[in-house]
């Protein structure tokens, strides 16, 4: 299953890769550098963010809601997720959208 909140995509997966490393700090999934708004899990105690080669993974220990100041909330059941941002094309390269 796949969800989209603004420029952030969240896909349910079987499990987080065992090589991934736990990222300390609050469960922010993406941060808007122009607006200062972030995509984040509303209840930090319910979430862990894992990283492997720059790829973000989210582990929800129970049902939790991903919130953003401008986009509608998305409630997800407990489980493992892959999280990434939309991309944009330029003739030079393809990069994640910057907002």
């Amino acid at each position: 299953m796949l969800w989209r909140q603004g420029d952030v995509l969240i896909e349910s997966i079987e499990a987080i890769p065992p090589e991934a490393e736990l990222r300390e700090g609050s469960p922010i999934l993406a941060y808007g550098e122009a607006t200062g708004h972030s995509h984040r899990v509303e209840a930090p105690e319910k979430a862990q963010v894992w990283v492997l080669y720059g790829q973000l993974y989210l582990k929800l220990l129970e049902t939790a809601t991903v919130v953003h100041d401008e986009h509608g909330p998305i409630t997800l059941p407990a489980g493992a997720y892959r999280v990434w941002q939309q991309r944009e094309y330029t003739p030079q390269d393809v990069h994640a959208i910057r907002d």
Binding site: M1, L2, W3, R4, Q5, G6, D7, L9, G32, E33, A34, T35, G36, H37, L61, E62, E70, H71, G72, P73, I74, A78, W84, Q86, R87, E88, Y89, T90, P91, I97, R98, D99
Partner: protein, 418 residues
């Protein structure tokens, strides 16, 4: 007794009264093995550093003589708390729907009540010394008098009409979304957040704040005649009835005037040192004396040229801007029609998605590959974005899937888009 031993004894029903636990205890249904019984009671005179009770619906009462530093209770069926309860550092109650009252002589450093919908008032004799957070408690009508705190948060407690006249809060008061709040006393605090207090008509003379947020206070008509001598940040977004800035304001770090249609211009002598947001205002310029701050339009950094002289924006300006938010705002200022006309854009495909109509537009660029953009409207904000995709994209579905990271539109089927 060690916490793991104590926990097993309590769940097994063998824990004695007067139990002293050397650490923290946590009871929650998730993660519990199927063979472990639910928590139904705690021993009397239990002493523990921190006790967490989350979704322990079979626990119908707390024991006599419970002593802890921190007590967290969430999603509970408790209807009352014992009068001799001691939680010296923190008492946190979340979603305790059936709880009707707190102990009369409650004494703690931090008290949090979140979505405790049957609490109508707090005990007059309670002693909370650091922070009181009573959020989304929609039956709470009054706060007790003689509160002396560092932090007070009553956000979303929509029945509260007045803050107590003798309230003392040194650091921060948040009454965000207290839609019936009408009276704020002349207190002195660092930060006052009154966002969305739509019944608030005025603020009192003598109110002293450093950071003030009155965004969305759509009934607010006048400022105190005394002004705010210590004010450093002011957010008055959407205060459409205000006709000016607080009296005596000469210098401020951050000023958010988005949608303040009653303001005609910036005072000549006001100095802004951080940022100024004038999103949605139809101003033709700023005073010549205005300089040294960052200008914003609805939260997005913007140059004075783009803001006040949109006719000077060129297609090239927009295409070379790397930040999608800045580019979107430049597009808005220039106007989509003029952009696509100026750029000689041709629609390659058009359909609809949850945001509305979307178009795959092609702009021929002499001597370079075609510029192909998907023009989409955000389903939450209604803003239109233009996102560049590879020139070989054939239709909107393929382009949207590519933007989401999929090379085939058959693989892209989001269940929810917000």
């Amino acid at each position: 007794m060690r916490p793991d031993e104590a926990r097993s004894a309590i769940l097994g029903g063998t824990a004695p009264d007067d139990l002293l636990v050397d650490g923290n205890l946590s009871f929650a249904p998730y993660g519990r093995g199927k063979s472990v019984p639910p928590l139904t009671h705690l021993p009397n005179n239990l002493h523990v550093r921190e006790l967490q009770l989350d979704s322990c619906g079979d626990l119908r009462a707390l024991p006599r003589g419970l002593v802890c530093e921190r007590l967290h209770i969430a999603h509970s069926a408790l209807t009352w708390l014992p009068s001799d309860l001691q939680a010296s550092y923190m008492l946190s109650l979340h979603d305790c729907y059936y709880l009707r009252a707190l102990p009369h002589r409650l004494k703690t450093r931090r008290l949090t009540l979140h979505r405790c919908q049957r609490i109508t008032r707090l005990p007059p004799a309670m002693q909370v010394t650091n922070s009181l957070c009573v959020t989304q408690c929609e039956s709470l009508e009054y706060l007790p008098s003689q509160l002396k705190l560092q932090i007070l948060d009553i956000s979303g407690s929509t029945k509260i009409i007045a803050l107590p006249s003798d309230l003392e809060v040194s650091r921060r008061i948040s009454a965000r979304g207290c839609t019936r709040l009408e009276l704020v006393p002349p207190l002195s605090t660092d930060e006052l957040d009154l966002q969305g207090c739509i019944f608030l008509l005025e603020l009192p003379d003598g109110l002293q704040v450093c950071n003030l947020n009155v965004a969305g206070c759509t009934s607010l008509e006048r400022w105190p005649s005394t002004g705010f001598p210590k004010l450093r940040r002011l957010n008055m977004q959407g205060c459409t009835r205000l006709r000016g800035l607080p009296p005596g304001l000469r210098r401020i770090d951050e000023l958010d005037l988005r949608g303040c249609d009653g303001l005609q211009d910036m005072p000549e002598r006001l100095r802004v040192t951080g940022y100024l947001d004038i999103g949605g205002l139809n101003w033709s310029g700023l005073p010549l004396s205005s300089s040294g701050f960052r200008l914003r339009w609805n939260g997005v950094p913007i140059s004075g040229r783009v803001l006040f002289h949109p006719e000077s924006i060129t297609v090239e300006d927009i295409l070379t801007e790397e930040n999608v938010e800045v580019r979107r705002m430049m597009l808005e200022r220039m106007g989509y029609q003029r952009f696509f006309q100026s750029a000689n854009a041709q629609p390659r495909h058009q359909d609809t998605d949850p945001g509305g109509v979307r178009q795959l537009l092609v702009v021929p660029i002499p001597g370079d590959e075609q510029l192909v953009c998907l023009s989409v409207q955000d389903p939450s904000t209604g803003r239109r974005y233009l996102i560049r995709v590879p020139p070989w994209m054939r239709d909107c579905r393929e382009a949207a899937a590519w933007i989401a990271g999929f090379d085939s539109s058959d693989d892209y089927h989001p269940v929810v888009e917000t």
